[in-house]
Subunit: 141 residues, 2 copies
DNA sequence: TCCCATTTGTGCGTATGTATC
DNA sequence: GGATACATACGCACAAATGGG
């Protein structure tokens, strides 16, 4: 049996939405290292019972973290804190212009991009190249 | 009265999730210009009745587009196709390293960043600067 | 000022499907 | 087969913000 709020993420008196409070709480635990990269979050069911909210409320909180690129969900394994990826250092040539945006679903599939990870678009001489933000750093020599 | 599927976004026989079908459909309408930048999407209620699905299903589709940076929701006005922002061209100095990621909630507030919009992080000489992806392009001279 | 209609936000409960171990 | 855990989907109710009359 789980004691609701033994770990107390939720303040029932707060005006702040419950799913936001839970997202804040998980985000803080990730930030301070309590939930380290690679760590598995508690299950949605556990979190919902622990905090005395519906599972859908927990799901919304996790969806927020996913969109922020903080966690990644592997079904039905669970949700995990994202780990830093090996980073490729790419040299930028003169005349290049760099932009960033979220990838389309096709680009996500094609380049195997996790949800919540943006891409870098480098344009030069009328052509543009795509780099996955997670695994790329661009350098100006 | 709305005739479900008079506009037919949903194929009930498809095993593709309904919210994904609706997201695909809206994404396509945005891509082909039928829903131009600044245009207002139909309300969640209208879309749900039009497609014969629950409002929560439509909301999930729209949340997807929001995370992709395609639309932006202004409550209680509605959801709108995002417009291209005036772009500032920033020159990159030698020795700079550029990365991209999603902003934290604090960064989003501080820099007024719409959901679904990544940021550019330029690091140089131990210091790093943040640029909003939506309104910034970096140039190598 | 007040009321109302519209629209998104929040939150719940329930049920069923699907993938993994 | 069973247990676990996430995914999909529905329905409901009420809150909050905005604009019109």
């Amino acid at each position: 049996m789980i004691d609701p709020n033994s770990d107390g993420a939720i303040d029932p008196n707060s005006d702040r939405a419950r799913h936001r409070q839970i997202a804040d709480w998980l985000r803080a635990r990730i930030a301070n290292g309590e939930l380290a990269p690679g760590a598995k979050l508690d299950s949605e069911k556990y979190l919902s019972q622990q905090n005395g909210v519906a599972r859908s409320t927990v799901r919304e909180a996790i969806a927020t973290l996913r969109a922020e690129g903080l966690v990644e969900t592997r079904r039905p394994k669970g949700t995990f804190v994202r780990e830093k990826q090996p980073e490729e250092l790419v040299d930028l040539k003169g005349g290049s212009v760099v932009r960033t945006r979220m990838p389309s679903p096709e680009e996500r599939r094609k380049h195997d991009v996790t949800r919540g990870v943006p891409v870098l678009v480098v344009e030069r001489a009328g052509k543009s190249k795509l780099y996955v933000g997670d695994r790329t750093a661009l350098r100006v020599r």
